[in-house]
Each structure stands twice: as C-alpha cells, then as structure tokens.
C-alpha cells in the first residue's frame, strides 16, 4: 500500500472498522434479499455521511474536508471489500468532481454542501448504449434544455441531481439537471449486482451548463474511473482472501486442497496481479491529487489492469470453491456479478487499453 499520511491512515482505519462492524458482506446480502429497491441501505448511507465521507474531496468552504482522491480511494477500497452499496462514488466523488472542476460559484454553493452532507445524491449520466463512448455523445443541449437518452446511470433512481453529458453549440459538455424535473423519466434497472441503476430519458429537460467543455467531461470521468478502480481493488482483494482461506481448510483426497501445486500457482498468479493492480490504482489516485498531466494514461492503465485482475479473481473464486461457489448462499456469486458491473462502468478493459494506446500515440 502507498505510504500514507497520518490523516489518510486514520481515515482508512476508520473505514476498515466501520465496514467490519457495521457493513460486512451480510449487509449487502440483506439489501439484496429485501429487493434492493434503492440499490443501497439508506441508514448505512446516513452513517457514512455523518462520518464526513461524502465530503472527502469537497473543499472546506463547501462543507467538505478536502482530503483528496487517494483518501477517497482508501474508503472506497474498504467498502469494496464487503460489496457495501452506497452512492458515495457517484455522488461524493464523480458528481462532486464535476461541480468542483466546472461549476460556477453559485452552482457550487447550491449543491456541494448538500452533497457533502449526504442530503443530496448526485450522479453522472454519460452512457447512451451498451458500451461507454463519451466521445460519441448524441444527447443535445439547446435553448437551455437537454434532449436524449442515457443508459446505465449509476444510482439513477436515488439521484436528486443528474450531471449529464450532451452536445451543445460548442461541443460536448456537462450539464446539471434536476432528477425530479417533469421532463425527466426514469426506468429502474434490476442489475445482476443489485446496485442501483436506471435508464433515463430527457425530453427537453431544463439544464444548466458547467464550464469546461469536453475536457471537463474527460477529467470528471477519469476521477470516476479511478474511484471505481479503487473499489474494485477492495472487492478483488477480499474475493482473493476468502478464496485463500478456503484453500487452507477444504480437505479432499486426504489433503488440504491448498497443498496442491496447481492451486498454489494459480493463487500466486492472483497475488502477483493484485500487487501490480494496487500499484496502478494508487498511482492514478496520487496523480489526480497532484493534478498531473499523466492522469488520463494512468487512469486508463489502472482501470484496464484492475479490470483484468478482478475478472480473473472473480472467476477463480467460484471455480476454487467448487460446488458451493455456485450456490446463492455463498458470497462468490456476489463478487462475480459485481466484478462485471464494475468492469463495464466508465469504460471496460478494452476501452481503456485502446485509450492508453491512443494517448501514447499508437
């Protein structure tokens, strides 16, 4: 793990203990079993907001603590371990970034304090089809209104504020739209990972532009991508550790199955990939905090690498648990379903491999 400042260590430790005590993976199961209407547990979200997590990247003048993206990543990693569902990434990281980087003073004053308190849930609405492709955004902004369709909007049903990408007179940019606007209609999606999502249609919905054009879109998306990668790191690590524990207890053929070399080597491969992925994720978050020009390539590197690793680990978790890994009663299925949703969010591995190459000039 990156060498942390004292503040960051404390934040991480607080997140670790809250997650262990208040939000083990059984909490996710309970949310799923209850129908997962909202896509997260409202009481748990309130607790997170009270601990100040929704304000971690928000400047102090707007009610946040301004600890930065690596700090937010540390919290997301811990939440990822137990598949804890919440709008923290969508609202406290992604939408908040859009306002911080592209909002007017009035827009920031109106929305950031409420996001920091957890009172308002905000989210990005960018995708328009099965694959993430922000450069080809077709939704339009004209005369103060947005028209178009967005897909796979994370926390789309719970959101009060939508940060929408649309093509305006000067190109593609981001716009604020109130989710309860009469010209916004939302369709709840029941996803395999039980997290909240929606398809949203805009039929001339009132919208306020943010400043920064397409450059803002990519900056905000990169921050969202890094956040997803941080959460994936936690989920993949826990999936691996749970599997490793199983290898040490399950006995077949008179042996603990973890003594079979084939399984040992597959475990070693996963461990290797997880260490490499951690390096990439932490480097991306640190680059965002440093506002480095390398952010786009480091973020695509992290999302691609982390995606491949979580893809592998989630498959191996089911496979190595054998029959019980196939039962709903076991958590393996949860990590597998979550992995594919996270891989797809804000660009999958293929998308980010290609982006990495484009940035490098090939």
């Amino acid at each position: 793990m990156a060498v942390l400042s004292e503040e960051q260590s404390m934040l991480r430790d607080a997140a670790k203990s809250w997650v262990q005590e208040k939000s083990p993976v059984t909490a996710f199961r309970k949310m799923r079993d209850s129908g997962a209407e909202l896509g997260y547990d409202a009481a748990a979200w309130n607790e997170m907001a009270e601990m100040g997590w929704a304000g971690v990247i928000i400047p102090e003048e707007y009610g946040g603590s301004d600890f930065g993206y690596l700090s937010m990543g540390l919290i997301l990693e811990e939440l990822g371990r137990t598949l804890t569902a919440s709008p923290l990434l969508s609202s406290g990281l992604a939408a908040a970034s859009a306002l911080i980087l592209g909002g007017s003073d009035a827009q920031k004053s109106e929305w950031l304090p409420k996001i920091a308190e957890g009172a308002v849930v905000a989210t990005l609405a960018v995708d328009e089809g099965p694959h993430h492709n922000p450069e080809k955004t077709a939704a339009t902004f004209a005369g103060g209104k947005i028209t178009g369709k967005k897909t796979f909007v994370l926390e789309g049903m719970a959101a009060n504020l939508l940060v929408v990408s649309a093509k305006g007179p000067d190109g593609i940019g981001l716009y604020l739209v109130k989710a309860d606007d009469k010209d916004v209609s939302r369709q709840r999606l029941a996803l395999a990972d039980s997290r909240g999502a929606a398809n949203i249609s805009f039929d001339g919905a009132a919208a306020e532009p943010l400043t920064g054009g397409y450059a803002l879109v990519e900056k905000v998306l990169d921050r969202a991508r890094a956040g997803v990668a941080a959460e994936m790191l936690g989920s993949a690590l826990q999936a691996f550790e749970t599997t490793l524990d199983y290898l040490k207890v399950r006995v077949q053929f008179g042996q603990v199955i973890g003594s079979f070399q084939a399984l040992q080597h597959r475990a070693a491969k996963m461990f290797t990939d997880l260490e490499l992925s951690r390096s990439a994720v932490e480097a991306a978050l640190a680059a965002i905090d440093a506002d480095s020009p390398d952010v786009p390539e480091l973020v695509s590197l992290a999302k691609a690498k982390m995606g491949d690793t979580f893809h592998l680990v989630s498959n191996e978790m089911v496979q190595m648990h054998g029959g019980i890994g196939m039962t709903d009663a076991h958590d393996a299925g949860f990590y597998l379903k979550r992995a594919r949703a996270a891989e797809a969010a804000f660009g999958n591995q293929a998308y980010h491999r290609d982006r990495y190459a484009k940035i490098q000039g090939y």
């Binding site: 060498v3 040490k248 475990a267 290797t272 440093a290 190459a357």
Partner: protein, 404 residues
C-alpha cells in the same frame, strides 16, 4: 499527501552531473557496458579510465558503506546517480556477481576481516566473482548439492562439479556452496570463497541456443579454500545462500522488467510496429490484434515499474522488504519475455536471421535476445519455484502431507 514519487535531491543531482561531465570519457558515450560482452577481458584505455574513476568514487555501488569504499548514499541518491548516468549515455562500469549478490550478502554475514579483504576490490571493479551453486543434479533443488569440501585444518580441499557458472571464464574468485556434512541435507552445506586462478579449477564454457556462452561447467579437482574464507559457521551456509538468492532475485527482476534491459532493444514496441507493420489512415498500428497485445505488454511493464517504486517507498519506512518484492521476478521476467516475442513477431521474416547479410544489427540482436531471454524464467529461481515461494511463504499455503 501520500509519498509516492521521488524526493527532492536537486543539489546532489547537480554535483553528480558535474562529476560525470568531468570524469566520463566522451568516447564511451552511448556505448554498452563491456561487462556484457567479450571486451571485458580486453578493456580499452577509456573503459579502464572510467572504471577506475567510478571505482575510486564508490558510485558504482552507491549505497554500500563508505567504510569499505562504497558511496555511503541513500536509495534516492543512488537513483539520481543512475538517472544522470543514463542521461549522459554512461554505463556503470562496476558490476557483476560481486555487486549484484555476493557483496550485499558478505556485508550482512561476513566477518570484519572478510569485508575488509573482499569488498573494496568489488567496489573498484578490480575483482570479478562467479557463483558456484548449481550442479547437474542440483538445480531447482539446490540443497541436494554434492560438491564436497574436506576439512584439512587451515583449509578445505574441494572436489566436484558446478554448472551454469556465469562468467567463470572471466572470474577471479568464486563464492561456492560445498557439502561439509553428508548426513544432513540443508545443514550440511557451507559457504566458502576461493580463487579461480589455481590449478585445481577447470572452466568449460557451455554453448547456448543464443550462440553465446555466458555460463560454464566448472570442475574442481583438489581445489583449495582458505579457512579464513569460510563465510558464516561450518554447515551454516544454506541460510546465507538463501539470502544471497534473494539479492540475486531483486537484481534480476530490476534488469528484466526495465524495458530493453540486457536482452532486448531500446526501441518501444509501438515504434517498431509502425515501422515493420505500418499504420492505418488514423495513424494507428494497422494490425489491431497486434496492437492490443502490444498495449497489454506496455500496461504490464508500467504496472511493474510502479510496483518497483512502491516497494521502494514502502521499504523506506519499515524494517523489512515490502510484500510486493516477492512478485517482482515473475512479473518482470514475464513482461520481458512477452516483449521479446512481440519484437520477433513484429519483425516478421526479418526476425528470423541468425547472422550476416540481409539483416540489420538490431534485427540480429533481437533474435539473440529472444533466445537468451528464455533463461530468465529459469535461472535465479525458476518461475515455478517463485510461485512456490509466494504460495508457501507469503500466502501460507501448506505442503502435501505424507498420507495420500
């Protein structure tokens, strides 16, 4: 803010730059390290001059203690020196087994007298070492070695054979694992040092698939080693050997993962692909399947470099090495081998040349490098052995039990 990057060493950097400018012979700029080639036995005047300058300064081994002639510098300062050498097109003339693995081990396990005798010549590059470890019957299972050392009071008499002895034909001294007790496996091994320049030592280079002979068979017939050159206790050599192998592993993964390194070329794969395969109208590599595989290699190489930096930063604060270090050899060597295979594929039929006309020097070097690179997942603890180490020591997975 998390400390992920380097530290500010601007003043030192200036000092290093000046010193290199004053001491590095211009004729050597951009030239490769002669250690890697035949020239090492017949160095030019400038190569000797450069070796002596770096040797006296101690910057060939910047983090070694100044008490034995080393630079006495921090890891950060050592990196500054490396970067400035790269910038000036200057190679580090101090190297070899003595630097990479034996010196660090002796600094940890040697007596004061042993350190005083053997470290300064390594620092100056005056003495080259070779490693007497593997035997035909003892490769991955090194502890099963049989080369015998008989205790004759003030010296040992050594009989047996070693294999894969790198650079034995150029070496002055050998650090050698010998069996001093045949009744126990691991606790019957001792770590001794002796000169290669004695009648009882015979060296035969082994031709390899790449056409070169970097490794040798080494035969000992009544060779002798002074008692004062027993490192550590009698029959206590295995512990020292394991530590030395850790040093070897770090050294190898550093060389293996850093792009071209010892076995490859400096040109990046995408540049090579544009030359040999071509681009489409958008200026992208025209073979999209190849492009994806190049990207995968680039990503793994980058994540590997990031991990090297992270491991270094983490080690700074703690007493022991970061857990990340256990993965470095496998991660680095895999990247290096994939790169070599991609290079060959990119070159197409121009990547099939052995020697002579019709092929550029780079093309021939790529073929030799690809072949020689097959060794990196075998030596220094094979890929499979590394996975065993990760599995058992890091992940805590158990051994098979007797009843099955």
């Amino acid at each position: 803010m998390a400390d992920f990057g380097g530290t500010d060493l601007e003043a030192f950097r200036g000092e290093v730059r000046e010193w290199i400018a004053a001491n590095f012979p211009a004729a050597l700029k951009g030239r490769a390290n002669p250690m890697m080639r035949e020239e090492r036995s017949k160095p030019s005047a400038e190569q000797e001059q450069w070796r002596k300058a770096m040797g006296e300064k101690g910057w060939g081994v910047p983090t070694w203690p100044a008490a034995y002639g080393g630079g006495g510098l921090s890891g950060g300062e050592a990196r500054v020196i490396q970067l400035e050498l790269n910038r000036a097109g200057a190679y580090n003339p101090i190297g070899g087994m003595g630097v990479m693995m034996f010196g660090p081990t002796l600094l940890e396990y040697g007596t004061e007298a042993q350190k005083q005798e053997h470290i300064p010549p390594i620092v100056r590059g005056d003495v080259q070492w070779c490693q007497g470890f593997s035997e035909p019957g003892a490769g991955s299972d090194l502890a099963s070695l049989q080369c015998k050392a008989e205790d004759k009071g003030d010296h040992f008499v050594i009989n047996g054979q070693k294999i894969w002895t790198s650079g034995a034909q150029f070496a002055d001294w050998c650090f050698c694992l010998v069996r001093t007790d045949t009744s126990k496996k691991h606790e019957g091994i001792s770590f001794v040092l002796f000169t290669m320049h004695q009648p009882g030592v015979e060296v035969r280079p082994i031709p390899l698939i790449a056409g070169n002979s970097p490794f040798c068979e080494t035969f000992f017939t009544d060779a002798t080693a002074d008692k004062k050159n027993l490192v550590g206790p009698l029959n206590g050599g295995w512990t020292i050997a394991k530590r030395l192998l850790q040093h070897e592993r770090s050294g190898l993964s550093g060389a293996g993962g850093g792009g071209g390194g010892m076995f490859g070329m400096a040109k990046s794969l995408d540049v090579l692909a544009k030359e040999y395969v071509g681009t489409d109208e958008a200026g992208r590599i025209s073979d999209s399947d190849l492009r994806t595989r190049i990207i995968n290699n680039a990503i793994d190489a980058r994540a590997f470099q990031q991990t090297a930096v992270r491991a270094m930063m983490e080690a700074k604060g703690n007493s022991g090495p970061s857990a990340a270090t256990s993965i470095m050899k496998n991660a680095g060597t895999r990247v290096m081998q994939d790169r070599a295979e991609l290079t060959l594929e990119i070159m197409g039929s121009q990547g099939l040349g052995w020697e002579g006309e019709g092929f550029s020097a780079d093309e021939l070097s790529a073929v030799r490098g690809w072949l020689g690179g097959k060794a990196v997942t075998i030596y220094g603890g094979s890929f499979e052995v590394q996975n065993n180490i990760i599995s058992k020591r890091i992940l805590g997975l158990p051994d098979l039990t007797q009843n099955h």
